[in-house]
């Protein structure tokens, strides 16, 4: 093995150059990533290894930084949703809806109850797909491929529902200011019903495969644990924080889009380890299913799917051709001549990984003056080096999976 060449100011230099173990073995540097299949995204970690154990880690991020905050400053408000999709691409509708809700808060738009419930349904579907991917990938990383392939087909079913609602699957760009771009088709509700019938059976089977599985328990219990105090100091939110025993959930703390109308539990863990994170996400999927059912039951009659805000909501195309007023509104919206107040807004929602927030500063022009995304992944990924210190290399992979770090959200 060739000798490692490190610059003298590198923080591992002294360990590599000076420190040898008593038995004569040396420390080694391992470059995990940036494009390693086990990391499910573009993450680089330079690990200082003593045999199979990790002594220190140095993460490098920014490999898919696309400068969304800069681009957002040059785009009209309604063209920013496609940017938000590409952050947490496992649960894009939550990001989309969070952005529309931010603008609606800015403009004081009251969204009809039915549209709010539809939003709740689509956001909970997104949460299910997000947790489904995270947990099944954790299975893959601990050696159980079957569960992943089994539940992955249900992500397809959810994507078919998205497709029916907005025409897109992964990067959905769903919704408009004030609601949805069109009413949900009967087929969307049919697909949703089928999903609600079939998915719980599969998810129960998935749980049965894992939760009491000896190998899975050995691989995950007491691996990558974090205490509640540390998790809070590191800015954890969402399932990763709740696994450490803190019941903070934005849907409860600051209900948006009528979440206060639904009964649901906030599952919490105890030790904040990989197994607890897995269990919290599993339990949240059941809660999400219950919320969707409640929303369907309580769905108000009628077919309202957007607020009556002609200044901001594009009129139907046939009206644009046949109606003078609609043509004027269409022109004003497309040309960005709609009035926007000078204000500063922070709007948080419970994203797939935690508190997703949009901090929007406007100066009255057609684009944001400043838009900052509070990306949960970016904030809690800082704790990763500390969580993997002393762990085995294979555990580091499992911990990364269970944190559900999404590269797109990490780098924005």
């Amino acid at each position: 093995m060739g000798k490692v060449v490190l610059p003298a100011d590198h923080r591992y230099y002294k360990y590599i150059e000076e420190r040898h173990n008593e038995d004569g073995s040396e420390l080694a540097i391992l470059n995990l990533g940036p494009t390693h299949p086990a990391t499910h995204g573009i993450f680089q970690n330079i690990l200082l290894m003593d045999g199979e154990r990790i002594l220190d880690a140095e993460p490098t991020i920014g490999y898919i930084h696309r400068a969304f905050e800069k681009i957002a400053e040059n785009r009209p408000f309604y063209q920013i949703t496609p940017l938000t999709d590409r952050m947490n691409y496992c649960s894009s509708p939550i990001n989309n809806m969070a952005w529309w809700m931010t603008i609606e808060k800015l403009l004081n738009i009251e969204v009809p109850k039915r549209a709010q419930y539809l939003r709740v349904i689509v956001m909970e579907l997104a949460r299910i797909t997000d947790h489904l991917i995270c947990n099944s990938i954790l299975g893959v990383d601990t050696g159980a491929y079957t569960g992943f392939l089994y539940v992955f087909q249900f992500r397809e079913k959810v994507y078919e529902i998205y497709e029916e609602i907005c025409g897109a699957r992964l990067t959905t760009n769903m919704g408009r200011i004030g609601g949805f771009e069109r009413d949900w088709s009967p087929k969307a509700f049919e697909l949703l019903d089928t999903f609600l019938k079939e998915f719980p059976i599969a998810w129960k089977e998935f749980e049965n495969l894992f939760t009491r599985n000896r190998i899975f328990i050995d691989r995950t219990v007491n691996v990558g644990g974090i205490s509640a105090e540390k998790a809070m100091a590191y800015g954890f939110t969402g399932p990763n924080l709740r696994a450490a025993g803190v019941d903070y959930d934005v849907r409860i703390a600051q209900p948006y889009s009528s979440y206060e109308d639904f009964e649901f539990n906030v599952p919490v863990g105890k030790s904040g380890d990989t197994y607890d994170r897995f269990c919290v996400r599993n339990a949240e999927v059941w809660e999400s299913l219950s919320i969707i059912r409640q929303a369907l039951d309580k769905m108000p009659e009628g077919n309202e799917y957007h607020a009556d805000v002609p200044d901001y909501y594009l009129p139907p195309k046939e009206d644009v051709y046949n109606n003078m007023e609609a043509l004027i509104y269409h022109f004003k919206i497309v040309m960005g001549e709609v009035p926007v107040p000078v204000a500063e807004i922070y709007h948080p929602v419970e994203g797939g990984n935690g508190e997703l927030g949009f901090y929007l500063v406007t100066d009255g022009s057609r684009t944001p003056y400043r838009l900052h995304f509070r990306r949960p992944c970016f904030i809690y990924y800082q704790a990763y080096p500390e969580m993997i210190k002393g762990a085995m290399l294979s555990d580091a992979i499992a911990i990364l999976s269970s944190l559900n770090v999404i590269a797109g959200e990490l780098d924005a």
Partner: protein, 175 residues
């Protein structure tokens, strides 16, 4: 008993006097501004004073105001959250344009580490006392600070995205 905005204002004014100012409520958020030389002490006070107890740093970011006067060219915005009373506040501090520098709060909140690095990376704001203030999202060799307003995003000759060509100027609305 819920934590009222007025209580926060009174406590801060008692301790810091005129260094803390412009208290107001914007939409659902209580906002105030702090002089940059006491921002660390104010945030420490907000976190450690038992009756305030802002235990969570939600967000930290910078803003560039190239048209403001010299000592208000940059702004660092802190969003703090008291989870026990469920109270959110926004704290703003303005920095000068030539040498924007503010004391780091990494010793109070671990999560401020990368947020301050990101702010440094985007705006070149120096966080004094930060353990490892290097670029985080952009490459290390970069010399400019891309979120500053003078940094062009694309071809500067392009006029199709200029507000003036859409019959409006900045701040021309009334609401």
């Amino acid at each position: 008993m819920a934590l009222e905005s007025l209580d926060i204002q009174n406590k801060l004014q008692e301790t810091f006097g005129d260094n803390v100012k412009y208290f107001r409520t914007e939409y659902d958020m209580f906002v105030f501004e702090v002089d940059s030389d006491v921002i660390y002490n104010v945030i420490k006070f907000l976190k450690e004073e038992p009756s305030l107890n802002f235990n969570f740093l939600t967000d930290l970011c910078g803003i560039h105001y190239p048209d403001s006067q010299e000592n208000e060219k940059f702004c660092v915005v802190y969003h703090l959250h008291n989870w026990f009373e469920n109270k959110r506040i926004r704290v703003k501090t303005f920095l000068n344009g030539t040498n924007p520098e503010v004391k780091s709060i990494t010793s109070l909140y671990n999560c401020a580490d990368w947020m301050e690095r990101e702010t440094f990376d985007f705006y070149g704001i120096q966080f004094e006392g930060h353990p490892n203030l290097v670029r985080i999202l952009n490459m290390d060799e970069m010399v400019s600070f891309p979120m500053r307003k003078e940094y062009p995003m694309e071809d500067s000759g392009r006029t199709d995205k200029d507000d003036r060509f859409f019959g409006r100027t900045v701040n021309n609305t009334t609401i």
